[in-house]
Amino acid sequence: MANPWVAFLLVPLIKIVVILLAVILIAAYMSFFERKILAYMQIRIGPNRVGPRGWLQPIADALKLLVKEDIVPARAEKFVYFLGPVLVVAPALLVFSVIPFGPAFKLFGYEVTPYLTDVNIGILFILGVSSVGVYGVILGGWASNNKFSMMGGLRSAAQLVSYEVPMGLSVVTVLLMANSLSLVKIVEAQKQAGVWYFIPGIVAFFIYFVCGVAETNRNPFDLPEAESELVAGFHTEYSGMKFAFYFLAEYANMVVVSSIATVLFLGGWLPPFPNWLAAVWALPALAWIPPIAWFVLKMAAFLFVYIWFRGTFPRYRFDQLMDLGWKVFIPVSLVNLMAVGLGVLLIGGK
C-alpha cells in the first residue's frame, strides 16, 4: 500500500461501488426470490414472463418505478414528504459499510478486505445508524397527510422503538462472549472459541431474529403496512421512485438483519464447526469453498426463513405485538443476559 491515493481513495471508492451495487442487486433479487418462493408455497408459478424464467423481473420493476409519475399529494408537507424515503434508505445502505463479508485476502499484491471498514464500535454503529430509519417511516407517514399513512407511521415508530430494546439486549450477550464491539473481531472470537455463538446464546439468537423480523416490518409483525387494515401503511401515498426507496430499504434491512445475525451468531464467513472439522477429513474438502460463499449461504438461509414466515403466519394485532415485545422479550432477554454474563464469568470468556 505504497501510494496513499490508492490506499485511501481508490480502493475504498471501488469497494463502496461494489458493495452498494451488490446490496441493491441482492435487495432487488430478494423481491424476485420472495415472489417465486411464495408462489411455489402457494401452488402458483410466480413471475415468469420477463427474461428467461422471469429472471429480469426485478430489473423491469425497477425501470417501471423509475419512469412512473411521482405523485405528491396536494396537501402533503412537501419537504418532509421528500425527506422520508431518503431517511429510510440511507441508513439501510450505510450499515453495510461495517459488515464483514469475509476475511482479508491478497489481490495483485494488495491486501484487500471484503468490507469497507472495520470500526472498533461496529455493532454500536449499526444499532445507531439503523435507528435513524424510524424517522423516515414516521415522517413519511405524517407528511403524506393521510390518516391511514399516519396510523401506519405511528404504529411502526412504536414497534421499532420497542423491539430495539430486546434486540440490543440480545446483541449484548454476544459482546460479553466476544469481548469486542468490532464485527471482524466477533467473527474471529468465534473461530478461537471453536463454537458459533448461537449455541451458547441460543435464547439471544432466537430473540435477535424475531426482533429483527419485527424491526423490518415483516410478517407476522408487518402491522405498519398491513394492507388489509391500513391499505399500505406509511407509504400509501408514495409512488414512483420514492416508493421504490421504501421498498428497497425494506429489503436492504432484511439483508442487514440477516447479515448481522450471520456475523453475531453463525460465525460470519467461517465454515461450520471450524475446529471440530479441522480434526477430521471434512475441512480440506470444504476448504475450496470461499469464505464469502459461506457468508452468503448463511444470509440466504435467514432470508428464506423470512419468506417462509410470510407464507405461514397470520399477523399479530398491534396491542399483542406490544405485549409480546415488552412483557415477553424484554424480561426474557434481560434474564438471558444475566445468565450469559454469569456463564462468561464462571467459564472465563469461553
Binding site: E77, N219, S228, P314
Partner: protein
Amino acid sequence: MGNLEALKPFPDSEEMEISFGPQHPATHGVLRVLLRLDGERIVDAKPVIGYLHRGTEKIFERETYNGTIPHTDRLDYTAAATNNQALVGVVEKIMGVTVPPRASAVRVLLAELQRIASHTIWLGTHALDIGAQSPFFYTFEEREKILDLFEEYCGARLTLNSMRVGGQPYDLPDGWTDRCRTFVDQFPARVAEWERLLTTNRIWKLRTVGVGVISAANAVEWGLTGPPLRGSGVKWDIRKVFPYDRYEQYDFEIPVGANGDTYDRYLVRMEEMRQSVRIIQQCLAKLPDGPVMAKVPKVIKPPKGEAYFSVESPKGELGFYVVSDGGAHPYRLHVRPACFINLQALPEMVRGLLVADLIAVIGTLDIVLGEIDR
C-alpha cells in the same frame, strides 16, 4: 403546518374519524364503514351501504318468474345455487308444486357444493385479512374444482342460473356423480390441512378468540342467522327446522359454537364444510331415478296470494317473499338477505375493539355486498 388540525373533526377530543372503504382491500367489495377512533380503538362504527344497489327487487317485477332466476345469481354472487333454490322454492310454494325426488336431490347436491365453495372463499379472504396469505390460494384451488363441477352441470361457473320453477333444467351429465364423489372424498383431507395451518396457530387464536363477541340472546335480537348465530350457540338451521328439498332424509349435524367469538364462528364454518360433504355423500349414495322436472305450465302464473320461503344459504337465512296478482310477473318479490341483517350487528360487535379487529369481524360475518345492496 395545519396538518394535525385537519385530522381532528371532533375539536374537543382526541378522536378522529376515518372513512374505511368503499375502496379498501379488506371490506369485501364496496362496504364503507365510518369509524370514530380513539387512537386505534373503535368508539363507533357505522356501516354505509348502497354502492352496489341495482334495484334488483324492482327488476324482478318486470321479469317472468323463471326470468328472475338469473337476477338472483347476482345477489350473493358467491352462492348462486342457494339463491336459485330460495327463489324457485317460493314460487313452487305459492303454486303448490312438488318437485320430483331426483330434482330435489340435484338441488341438494348443488346447494351443498355451493355452501362449500362459499365457505372456501370466506376462509381464504378471512385468513388473508388476518395476514395469513397462503390459505387463500389453497382454498381457491378447491373452489375451482367445485366450479368445474358446476360448469359441467349448467355451463356457468359463478352465476349458475341452475334451477327452474318445478324442477331442474337438466339432468346430471354422464360421469358427473363420479367426479363429484372424487371431489368430496378428497375434500375432508384438505379441510384438515387448512385447520393444521390455523386452528391451533397461536397468532390465529390471539386474533380471533374473544374478538367480536355476540351473546346468544343478542344474536337472536339482532336477527342474525347462519354461522354468526350458530357461533353464539343457537342451534338454528333452516335445513333442520323447516326442511325443504327433502333435507329431512339426510343425516347431518348442526355445529354450534359456545362463546360467540370469531374463533367459534371459524370452527362452525369449518365443521359445516365437513357436514356438507356428509350430505353430498349420502345424496350421491341414494340418488333417486326419475324425471327432474314436474309438470308445470310453460308460462308460470301463480294464483293470487302471498308466500314466504327461506333456505339456509351459506351466509344465513335467505328468504323470498312473493306477492302474486295472478299474472305472469311477480307483483312484488322481496328478498330477506342474510348478509344485510348480519351486517347490522357490526357496530355492536366492534365497539371498543381495535381497527385490526374490525377487519376480523367483517371477515367473520362473511358479507357479500351484492346481497346487501341488491
